[in-house]
């Protein structure tokens, strides 16, 4: 039919591509992520590991955080007491080292420069300077043990206002944002709650207990596995904004296309 042929090069094709693009973002990365072993802390680490960590630190981090991680004013905060958990979160998600100063360090899993062993060494070195939160134990990351419904309740009270009830992120003030939680490793979600990176507040174990943190992760993984995706394309989980975009583009083009076809005289 010439009707179809005429539409092949139309803006519709672009929209369809956009549509396809929205579907696949965020799902591909999960497999690539590096991780420090659960429970990592300076306690029980070997001196070689700590020395290796110091070497790495001096080469990659000291220019902003100072030679002894004491901080360097505006350039970088002190790392005393941030713990192994913060180091794993920042480095293994590709946020640190920061290539250039920005409003906010971006998650960038494909740009992680270090191996698991190197990040572990960095983590135990920083933790050895002044102890802070440890990388969580494996039991708190086992989503099969978590209660997604309770996690959902905790999530909606403590997290949804920034990260969106669908975990896809949201805007903060002056160009900062809460990133998406889809495709993020369990360990990193836990560490983020524990250490409060960047704008995010800290949720210590007295505020959200380890069990509750596990519930939150279980809830997020349930969503990631498609519990929310029931009735078709989720349009980027943008809520009414996505619906409106669809209605005013593809939706209305379909109707007007039909109307134009109806009104046109047959050949």
């Amino acid at each position: 039919m010439s009707f179809l042929a005429a539409r092949r090069r139309s803006p519709l094709a672009l929209l369809v591509l956009l549509f396809l693009g929205l579907t696949f973002t965020g799902t591909a990365y999960a497999a690539l992520q590096t991780n420090v072993p659960p429970g990592t802390s300076a306690e029980g680490a070997s001196q070689e590991q700590i020395d290796e960590g110091r070497e790495l630190f001096l080469g990659n981090c000291a220019s902003c955080h100072g030679e002894n991680a004491e901080g360097n004013g505006e350039a970088g905060p002190s790392l005393y007491g941030v713990g192994a958990a913060a180091v794993d979160f920042q480095v293994a998600t590709g946020r640190m080292p920061l290539p250039a100063p920005t409003v906010q360090a971006k998650r960038n899993v494909s740009q992680v420069h270090f191996s698991d062993e190197q990040i572990t060494a960095l983590a135990v070195y920083v933790d050895s300077l002044a102890p802070g939160p440890d990388v969580p134990e494996a039991q708190w990351l086992d989503t099969a043990e978590g209660d997604p419904a309770n996690g959902g309740a905790v999530y909606r009270t403590n997290c949804a206002m920034c990260h969106n009830s669908s975990g896809t992120g949201g805007a903060l003030t002056r160009g900062k944002y809460a990133p998406t939680l889809m495709g993020v490793d369990e360990q990193h979600i836990y560490e983020a709650m524990l250490t409060g990176p960047q704008s995010m507040p800290v949720f210590n174990d007295q505020n959200i207990t380890p069990e509750e943190k596990r519930d939150v992760i279980a809830f997020l993984k349930t969503i990631e596995d498609g519990a929310n995706d029931q009735g078709g394309h989720t349009l980027g989980s943008l809520g009414p904004a996505g619906d409106a975009l669809f209605a005013w583009t593809i939706g209305i083009l379909a109707f007007i296309g039909a109307a134009v076809w109806l009104g046109r005289k047959a050949a």
Partner: protein
Amino acid sequence: MTNPHHDDTAPAVRDEAAAPARAETFENPGLPPHVPRRADVDPKAAKRAEIQVVVLFTLSALASIAFVVAYFAIDQDLKGYLLGIGEINLYHLAIGLTMGVSLLGIGLGAIHWAKTLMPDEEVVEQRHPQASTEEDRLVVGQTLSHGWRSSQLNRRSALLGSAGGALGLFALPLVLPVVAGLGPRPQGLYTTNWAEGTLLRIDPSGAAIRAGDVTQGSVFHVMPDGWVGHEAVEEHGAEAAMVAKAKDQVILVRLDPSLIKSQKQREWGYEGIVAYSKVCTHVGCPVALYEQQTHHLLCPCHQSTFDMTDDCNVIFGPAKRPLPQLPITVDGDGYIVAAGGFREPVGPSFWERERPGLLGVE
């Protein structure tokens, strides 16, 4: 612009005799000659169109049957992955697609039929002026006048007045009970469940909070003792529990005391721990986005931004008033408790906010 109708310098008087000769527009050429369609002149094209229509209708019928089959045969909870869509409920997809095809088949078939095989010569219908004839108007005028005079309304003004009064008032007995019964008079706007000694509890777990647990950079979403979780619903009923959530919600953070700019804020807090109402002073959304580095509180609804180091004053957005602060202290066991209730109404502005007397509140 050239204007052939007027001399712009001398305004034309609206006078028919002075109107210029009327040779100013083209003549309507009438309907263009009819161009026959392919199906009008070529029997093969007509046959082809017919087959297309029949195919569309048949497709619709088949899709309707497929819908029924899918409705009964597919498991309602069957999920699957669809390229370009992602995870989807396959039962939903199957019945949706078959329903769509069933409807589209009929629609496209009927339109295609109309376009290719039904007559395509346009017809002309004449219009007539919307206004009625003078005669109609006259008769109506007479009838109205007859009605007015024969009912003696023109002579008996007391009749007219009393009828008007009765008609004007008859709706009152109907409307008043509805409107006046809709709700109670405004109440509770100046009070919350916070009072001196009320324990702060974490929402939704219900745990009490030791001052030492509130580390710098952390944020606690808090409700008053007795108003958290399922227990509150059981004890007070769902409605009271919801009203309490809407008014009593509090956000608790610890700031470096040296950052706090206001003496009052420091005094109403405890060692840098401060508690503020979480209800936005704009239209009442929970102001829950706490940026721990800038100490800004952002409302996700309309972006009002409050500075927690400056007594929660508004630094951006549509809100006017700062968030009300809840004075807190620590009880004998080291748990954080309210040192008193809120000193001003929480939540959105309302007209009588500064003058409770207008609502009969002391």
